[in-house]
C-alpha cells in the first residue's frame, strides 16, 4: 500500500487540474496532451519506415 501511495504522489491527484482558455475554447492540459500525442503518433506512422518494407518490395 505504501509503495502505491509513493508512486501516486508523483502526480498530485487531489489538486484542481490545469486548464487552457482561448476565447470560447477551454481544454484541460491532460486532454490536450493526449490529443497532441495522437497527432504525433499519426504523423510518425505516415513518415517512419516500416521494418522489412524494402525487402517486401524487392520480392514483389
Amino acid at each position: 500500500m505504501s509503495t502505491f501511495v509513493n508512486y501516486a504522489a508523483i502526480f498530485p491527484l487531489t489538486t484542481l487540474g490545469h486548464y487552457i482558455h482561448w476565447h470560447f475554447i477551454q481544454i484541460s492540459v491532460a486532454n490536450l496532451t493526449v490529443i497532441v500525442l495522437m497527432v504525433i503518433a499519426f504523423i510518425a506512422a505516415l513518415v517512419l519506415p516500416f521494418p522489412g518494407r524494402s525487402r517486401r518490395k524487392e520480392n514483389r
Binding site: F4, M38, A41, A45, L46, L48, G52, R53, R56
Partner: protein
Amino acid sequence: MSYSEIERQWTTRLRRRFVRLLPPEKLLPDNQPTYVSSWIYVFGVTTLSALMVVIASGCVLAIRGPQWWHTSSVGHFVNSLHLWSVEIFFFAMVVHLWGKYFMAAWRGGRSMTWMTGVVTFLVSIATAFTGYVSQTNFDSQWIATQAKDGINATGAGAYFNVLNMGQMLMWHIVLLPLVAVLLTALHVLLVRVKGVVPPFEEHAKVNA
C-alpha cells in the same frame, strides 16, 4: 438421407454461403499486400489488442468487486490496468479512424466496414462513459450529477438514468460490451471479406 435432401438442408446451404463469402484463406490469411507494411495499418490491431486487455481486466474486476479494487494493491493495479487499456484503446482507435478517413476507407464496396467502425466508436464512448459513472467513488458521483442534465435534456433520462448506479453498472458490464464486441467482430469479418483498403494509387490496379 438422399443427396438431394442433404442439399436442401438449411445447415448445408448456410455453410456453403459462409464458405463462399469467407473462404478459410481469406478468414485467416498468411500474407497481406505490400502496401499494408506501413505503421498506419498497425493501429487497427492495436485497438483490438487493447480491447482484449480491457475485457480481461474488466472480468477480473467483476469477479472481485469494488471493495477489492478500492482497497487492495492488486485491486488498484487491475483497476489501473483497466483504465489505461481503455486509454490505449481510444488512442489507437482515433489514430486508426484518422488513417482510414484520409484513405477514404469506404472505397471499393467497404461502406459497411466503415459504418460498423463508426457505430463501434460511438458504442465505445457510451461504454466508457458508463464505466466512469460506475467507479463507485466521488469522481463517478461528480460525473453522474454533471451528466444527468445533459442526458435528461435529450429525453433519454427516463430510460437511461445516470444517477442509477445499478443500471449504469449493468449497461457497462453486460449490454454495451456485448454490442461493442459483436460490432468489432463484424467489423473485422468485413475487413476479411473485402480486404484491407488499398492506397489511392493502387486502387485502380486492385479493382481492374
